[in-house]
């Protein structure tokens, strides 16, 4: 955590005003005001996103890319406008490179099954890291098992940072793909993505690189062109958009060469019983009726984030991270899991002798919502020799008062269980 790395250039966020944008935050849970500190699992939705879904279904609902009628045109225009917003949001060269999927998980599975099956052979190797979410482990395991390839893992250290020097030892002439998270969901570690990619490119520019951006795009500006990766995925619901919509970005020449993954309507050019031919990008990868309203809602969420300003969001969240780190570290017997020098506002922790599940239950009784468990990152838990952690993950709409309630709740739990 470098304190100077998130200097804001514009005025600070007015948190109380911003909170008004999120209807769900204004409720009582177990008789206490809700303190929603589970943003890494899913973020809350601003009213404009909720209204966009309602407006679509009330006024414009029709299928896309099919009708000559007005509503279908409007739905198609709005859907494609959302694609353009995503393109600009992540700095892609063309909207044709933006594939709407259900979420990051589906995006990774698409790459593993389409690109992977066409390009990874027996004896080849896929490199991932020890800090992956299961969504960036299991699809590659399935691929490796199916084709007889080998999965290699970049280790992490006790701060929860990647051991970058080990990467060099893992790359060889059988390496076909390197996949890693921009930011760890369980530890909060922000990886040096550009440096990792530079090293892989320097070793062999034909190795493909997938970046899991699930915990990145809601915290920091991402530019896939500057990153120089080949694939990038993220989920809409973690960036204040609807659930069920996500994005796979891939370099156009790679996507163009990849076979379709799922077949169906909207992804074909011509169909006969002898042979079908495929639609152009990105429709080739969007079989069936997509989550039209979800994509439109995601576009509105991106506008919302853009209007707030990612620099201001990052500055605000960094303040919250520092405040929460200080409060939690002051609690005797509490150990933070994930103390990387560059972190987002994710605080995983354990307390000596008290099960995380018990702490989470007491916090819930006090209206504080945290995640308890392995966070779909069991290898991370194995590294630290723990079954689970309590994880508080903060968003810009959280307050220092909520952090106080978190810390007080943990202290209360300790007094109850000791």
């Amino acid at each position: 955590m470098s304190p100077t790395s998130h200097a804001a250039t514009s005025p600070a966020l007015d948190v109380q005003r911003v909170r008004e944008d999120f209807p769900v935050l204004h409720q009582q849970v177990n008789g206490q005001p809700l303190a929603y500190l589970d943003n890494a699992a899913t973020s809350q939705k601003p009213r404009v996103v909720i209204e966009a879904l309602r407006t679509f279904y009330e006024h414009d609902n029709a299928n896309v890319h099919r009708g000559v009628h007005m509503l279908s045109q409007r739905a198609t225009d709005a859907y494609e406008a959302a694609r353009e917003k995503v393109r600009a949001f992540i700095g892609a060269a063309s909207a044709d490179e933006i594939v709407f999927v259900r979420g990051a998980t589906e995006g990774i599975n698409l790459v593993a099954q389409s690109w992977g099956r066409a390009n990874v052979r027996a004896g080849d190797e896929v490199v991932i890291t020890h800090m992956e979410h299961h969504a960036n482990i299991v699809p590659w395991q399935l691929l490796c098992e199916a084709v007889g390839a080998r999965l290699r893992v970049v280790p992490i250290d006790d701060r929860g940072e990647l051991v970058l020097d080990a990467l060099g030892d893992l790359l060889n002439d059988r390496t076909r793909l390197v996949a890693f998270p921009h930011t760890s969901n369980a530890l909060g570690t922000v990886n040096p993505s550009a440096e990792i990619i530079r090293r892989v490119r320097a070793f062999n520019p034909t190795i493909r690189i997938l970046v899991d951006g699930c915990q990145a795009v809601q915290h920091t500006a991402v530019d896939v062109a500057a990153l120089d990766c080949d694939f990038f995925v993220f989920s809409g619901h973690k960036v204040f958009g609807p659930t069920g919509i996500g994005v796979l970005w891939g370099r156009e020449e790679l996507l163009a060469a990849m076979p379709p993954w799922q077949g169906g309507g909207d992804m074909i050019d011509r169909v006969t019983f002898e042979k079908s031919t495929w639609a152009d990008l990105p429709n080739k990868f969007e079989a069936g009726t997509p989550h039209i309203a979800g994509a439109i809602g995601l576009g509105v969420a991106i506008d919302y984030v853009h209007d707030l300003g990612l620099d201001r969001i990052a500055a605000r969240e960094h303040e919250l991270l520092e405040a929460a780190t200080a409060r939690l570290q002051a609690i005797e017997g509490l150990r933070l899991i994930g103390t990387a020098r560059e972190k987002v506002a994710v605080l995983s922790f354990v307390v000596d002798g008290i099960h995380p599940h018990d702490i989470g239950t007491i916090l819930d009784m006090r209206g504080v919502a945290v995640r308890v468990g392995h966070h779909c990152a069991q290898p991370v838990m194995q590294h630290f020799g723990i079954p689970a952690t309590v994880r508080a993950s903060l968003a810009f709409y959280n307050t220092t008062e909520e952090i106080d309630r978190l810390a007080d709740g943990v202290a209360k739990a300790i007094s109850m269980f000791r």
């Binding site: 177990n30 599940h357 018990d358 239950t361 819930d364 009784m365 079954p387 689970a388 109850m416 269980f417």
Partner: protein, 147 residues
């Protein structure tokens, strides 16, 4: 233990009726959890793990003198306390008693709905497992080949 299965439920309900807020209820459950003996290590294996619990729960049952005797524990203290209550009701009973007795006392604990029957603490999974054992022992003891 001299109380019957129905008395056990009634007594638990009476115990909890005295608590006025959640903190007292949880403090009592935690107290019961701390007093509850851990299941022996030999049973802390995958075979006896109750699936569907977020914490680790092991449950073992043996059939002796026409009664089902359970042993169970969890690494989470609140779940451990719930186990103590479940075993007070169900352990040492006949299979018929176990199968005909729904865990009505749980509602009297005053836990929130998501904590009572949700998958979070695995209460539902534990009760199902308790009943499954009873069903199996019941079938065994009533099959023609049983001696």
């Amino acid at each position: 233990m001299t109380e019957t299965i129905d008395e056990a439920q009634k007594n638990i309900v009476a115990d909890f009726a005295g608590f006025t807020d959640w903190e007292d209820r949880y403090a009592h459950i935690i107290r019961l959890g701390k007093q509850h003996p851990d299941i022996p290590d030999e049973f802390k294996i995958e075979t006896f793990r109750v699936k569907g619990c977020q914490s680790t729960v092991h449950l073992h049952a043996r059939f002796e003198d026409g009664r089902v005797h359970y042993r169970a524990s969890s690494d989470a203290m609140i779940v451990q306390g719930l186990i103590a209550l479940l075993l007070r009701v169900y352990s040492g009973r006949t299979a018929e008693e176990i199968l005909r007795t729904p865990p009505d006392f749980i509602h009297a604990l005053g836990l929130t709905e998501n904590l009572t029957m949700g998958r979070q603490n695995g209460l539902k999974a534990m009760i199902e497992q308790i009943k499954l054992y009873a069903m199996a022992f019941h079938a065994m003891s009533h099959s023609p080949s049983a001696n």
